[in-house]
C-alpha cells in the first residue's frame, strides 16, 4: 500500500483528495491535523469509504519548527512516505492583518513559513530514499500581490518560490515537488466569499486535479486550469492598468 501523509487533513481540499485516493485503491494514510476530534472525524469517514485502508491520525503544532521536525520524524519512522500533501492554511482577513501586526504575523506563519518547513523536513528522508512526492498547496493569490489579500498572497508567494527552489535542487533525483495553485474554491475556508455570492470551483473538481497532478508529478498545477491563463494576464498587466483594478 502507498503511504500518503496529509498535513492539514481537515481542510476540505485535502479531505476530498483523501476520498479520491482511498476510492482508487486501499492506502496507508497518515492524517495530521491541529484539532484531534476534527481529524478523527475525517479518518472515520475515510474508513467507512475504504475499510481496507489503514488510516492513522496525528496531531501537531503547525507553526513551531521543532514540533514540525518532531512530527515528520515520527511519521517517517513508522513507514517510508510515498506522497505528502501539505494542505493547511487559513484565509486571513486582509484588513485585520493590516491593522494588527500580530494577526499579520500569525497569517504569514501558518500560510507561508509552516508549509515550507514541513516540505523541507520531509525532503531530507525522501532524498535519502531517492523516492517520493512532496505536494504543496499554494494559491493563485501568490502570483501577484493585490490590495485585497496581499498578506495571504505573500505567504503563498513564499510557498511558490520555495517549491520552485526545491524543484531546481531535486531536478535530478526521483523526488518530485508539486506546487498546486487553486483558484477560489468552494470550501469552508471561503464560506464568507460564498455567502457573498462569488463563483467558485467545486472542491471535488479541484481535488481531482490535485490527485491527477500529483500522480503525474507535474511541477505546477493550476486548478481549475483556466486560472493559469487568468494569472498570466494578471501578472502581465502594466501597473497603470493594474492599479485601477479593484481586485
Amino acid at each position: 500500500m502507498q503511504h500518503i501523509v496529509i498535513i492539514g487533513a481537515t481542510s476540505a481540499m485535502a479531505e476530498h483528495c483523501a476520498r479520491l485516493w482511498v476510492q482508487a485503491a486501499p492506502v496507508h494514510l497518515t492524517l495530521v491535523g491541529r484539532d484531534e476530534a476534527r481529524t478523527r472525524r475525517v479518518a472515520d469517514d475515510l474508513r467507512v469509504r475504504s475499510p481496507q485502508s489503514d488510516v492513522h491520525v496525528m496531531t501537531s503544532d503547525f507553526v513551531d519548527a521543532a514540533a514540525i521536525q518532531h512530527t515528520v520524524n515520527t511519521i517517517v519512522a513508522q513507514a517510508p512516505v510515498d506522497v505528502v500533501l501539505i494542505a493547511h492554511g487559513v484565509l486571513s482577513d486582509q484588513t485585520t492583518c493590516q491593522d494588527d501586526v500580530l494577526a499579520c504575523d500569525a497569517a504569514l506563519q501558518v500560510n507561508g513559513v509552516s508549509p515550507v518547513l514541513f516540505a523541507e523536513a520531509f525532503a531530507k528522508p525522501m532524498v535519502a530514499a531517492n523516492h517520493g512526492t512532496i505536494a504543496i498547496i499554494g494559491s493563485v493569490a501568490g502570483d501577484r500581490g493585490r490590495k485585497t489579500n496581499y498578506v495571504y498572497g505573500a505567504a503563498k508567494g513564499l510557498v511558490s518560490r520555495y517549491a520552485q527552489g526545491m524543484q531546481h535542487r531535486l531536478a535530478h533525483t526521483n523526488v518530485k515537488v508539486v506546487l498546486i495553485k487553486p483558484g477560489p474554491t468552494d470550501t469552508p475556508m471561503t464560506s464568507d466569499l460564498k455567502a457573498k455570492g462569488q463563483k467558485m470551483a467545486s472542491v471535488e473538481q479541484v481535488a481531482q486535479d490535485i490527485v491527477k497532478g500529483i500522480a503525474a508529478g507535474k511541477p505546477v498545477v493550476y486548478t481549475p486550469g483556466i486560472w493559469q491563463i487568468i494569472m498570466l494576464v494578471v501578472m502581465h498587466l502594466p501597473r497603470f492598468v493594474f492599479n485601477k483594478l479593484n481586485i
Partner: protein, 446 residues
C-alpha cells in the same frame, strides 16, 4: 447576502447564507443566526427550501460518513451527504439506498425533510421508512437524539416535516442488499388510463419498480409508456457476458463530466411549438424500445441527472411542478379530468409522470405519499395563464380528497394544504420557533 433559487427558478431572492461544516457545532450556528432554514442541494422546486431576506443554513458541507455495519447495512452519516455519493460508494459493495427519487443529487437531510419516494413505493415505502435514527439540532441550542421508540412523535414530525422541526445533523439509514447494479426492465406502451391501471395492478406483486410517462396532450386517448423493473442478482448478470463491457462504459460515464445546459435561453425551450413534436417523438422512440431490456440503475432511475442544469431549459421565468396524489377509488376519473383540463388549456407538460402508490401510510405527519395514484407535471411559467390552469387542477385534487407534494409546490392555497394534510395541527406542536420558510409562511402561522 446571496441570491438563491430553488430548482424551479421562479424566484431569485437574497439570502443570508451560513455554511454548516462541523456536525458538533450546528446548534450554536442556528442559535446565533435565527430565524432561518436549512438548505441542502436545492433540488426542491418551489419555496420549501427558501427563506427570502432571511438566514439560510447550507448543509452540503456536512458531508461525512460516520459508520457503516457491513453485516446489517446500517449507515450513519451527516445530513449533507448526497444520495449519489452513498449509491456510488455502496452499490459496488452490495448495498443500496432502498428509496431514491428521480434524482440522486439531493442530500440525506432533504430526502428526510421531504420524505421522498421512488418508483418502488408500492414495494418499500418512502425514504422515512428506512430512517432508523436522527440527530436534530434546534435553534434553542438543544441537540436531540431521536428514534422511533423513544421519540415517535418527533420522528414523525421531522420525517416529511420540511425542515421545520429542526436541522437534521446526522441520520442512521438502513441500506438494502443488491448484488448487481443491473435492472431487468420491461417497456410497455399503453392507450388510455384503464390500460395504465391494469398494467399497474398486474405489476404490483412481481415488479419492484413501476412508473409511466404519459402524453398529456393526447386528451381522451391518453397514450403512455409503462416501465417496470426488477433488480438483477449477480448470478443473473453473470449469464449476460455483454454486461461486463456495458458496466465499464457506464463507469467511464460516471467519471466524466455530465452534459450541461450552459445558459438560460431567453424563452422557454419547452413551449407550445416544441411540446407536441417532442411528446410524439418521445412516445415513438420509447415505443420502439417495447419489451425486455437490461439497464444500469443510474440511467434508469435518474435519467435527468446526466444533463446538468436542465432546469434552465424553461427560460428566465422558470417553471412550476405540480404533483398530486388522489385516492385510488377516484383515481381514474380524477386523472382523466386533470388531463382534460390540461389539454383544454393549451398549456402542456413535458415530463408527465403517472404512478400508483402502494397501499401504505407514510410515517411522517406531513409525508406526501398516500394510497392512490400520483401524477407529476411541469409547466413553463407563463404567469396568470399557468396559475389559472393550476387552480383548475386544484379543484379536481380537492374534490378527489387528494393532496399536493410540497417539495414541488410554490403556490397552493392554505385551504387545499389544510384539506390535504389532516395531521397539520399535530405537526405544528413540534415546530422549531426559530425556523421558518417562504412556504411555511405561505401555508401556516409562521
Amino acid at each position: 447576502m446571496k441570491p438563491v433559487s430553488a430548482w424551479g427558478r421562479l424566484s431569485r431572492d437574497l439570502h443570508d447564507v451560513q455554511v454548516l461544516t462541523d456536525r458538533t457545532h450546528v446548534a450554536p450556528v442556528l442559535a446565533a443566526h435565527q430565524p432561518g432554514l436549512a438548505f441542502g442541494n436545492g433540488r426542491s422546486y418551489g419555496d420549501v427550501c427558501l427563506n427570502p431576506n432571511g438566514n439560510l443554513w447550507h448543509t452540503t458541507g456536512l458531508n461525512k460518513l460516520i459508520a457503516f455495519d457491513e453485516a446489517t447495512g446500517r449507515l450513519v452519516c451527516e445530513a449533507g451527504v448526497l444520495l449519489r455519493d452513498i449509491q456510488r460508494l455502496f452499490v459496488p459493495r452490495g448495498w443500496m439506498l432502498p428509496v431514491t427519487p428521480g434524482t440522486q443529487l439531493i442530500t440525506v437531510g432533504g430526502a428526510i425533510a421531504n420524505d421522498v419516494h421512488g418508483k418502488n413505493h408500492h414495494a418499500v415505502g418512502s425514504f422515512g421508512d428506512h430512517v432508523l435514527r436522527l440527530t436534530l439540532a434546534r435553534t434553542s441550542g438543544e441537540v436531540l437524539q431521536l428514534d422511533w421508540t423513544s421519540a415517535p412523535d418527533m420522528m414523525s414530525a421531522t420525517v416529511g416535516g420540511m425542515g421545520l422541526t429542526g436541522v437534521v445533523v446526522t441520520a442512521e439509514l438502513l441500506l438494502r442488499r443488491v448484488s448487481s447494479p443491473w435492472l431487468r426492465t420491461e417497456t410497455l406502451p399503453y392507450q388510455g388510463l384503464s390500460e395504465f391501471f391494469e398494467l399497474a395492478d398486474a405489476s404490483e406483486h412481481d415488479w419492484e419498480h413501476t412508473v409511466s410517462w404519459i402524453d398529456c396532450l393526447a386528451g381522451q386517448t391518453a397514450r403512455g409508456i409503462f416501465m417496470r423493473a426488477n433488480h438483477m442478482t449477480a448470478q443473473e448478470a453473470a449469464t449476460m457476458p455483454s454486461l461486463k463491457a456495458a458496466l465499464a462504459a457506464q463507469q467511464r460515464k460516471m467519471q466524466s463530466k455530465p452534459l450541461s445546459m450552459p445558459f438560460v435561453p431567453p424563452i422557454s425551450l419547452v413551449n407550445g411549438l416544441s411540446l407536441k413534436p417532442f411528446n410524439m417523438a418521445y412516445y415513438q422512440l420509447q415505443k420502439m424500445k417495447r419489451g425486455f431490456d437490461v439497464a444500469h440503475y443510474e440511467p434508469f432511475s435518474y435519467p435527468l441527472d446526466n444533463l446538468q442544469d436542465w432546469n434552465r431549459m424553461y427560460g428566465p421565468r422558470g417553471f412550476y411542478q405540480y404533483q398530486s396524489v388522489v385516492p385510488r377509488e377516484v383515481g381514474q376519473p380524477a386523472v382523466q379530468a386533470m388531463l382534460d383540463a390540461i389539454a383544454a388549456s393549451g398549456e402542456g407538460s413535458f415530463l408527465a409522470v403517472l404512478k400508483t402508490f402502494g397501499n401504505r401510510e407514510a410515517k411522517g405527519m406531513l409525508s406526501f405519499p398516500q394510497p392512490g395514484v400520483t401524477l407529476a407535471l411541469d409547466f413553463p411559467n407563463r404567469g396568470e395563464r399557468t396559475l389559472k390552469l393550476l387552480d383548475r387542477l386544484d379543484v379536481i385534487v380537492r374534490e378527489a380528497k387528494g393532496r399536493l407534494y410540497m417539495a414541488k409546490d410554490a403556490r397552493m392555497s392554505r385551504d387545499l394544504f389544510e384539506a390535504g394534510y389532516p395531521r397539520l395541527s399535530e405537526f405544528t406542536a413540534h415546530r422549531d420557533a426559530g425556523i421558518s420558510s417562504a412556504m411555511s409562511r405561505r401555508l401556516m402561522e409562521f
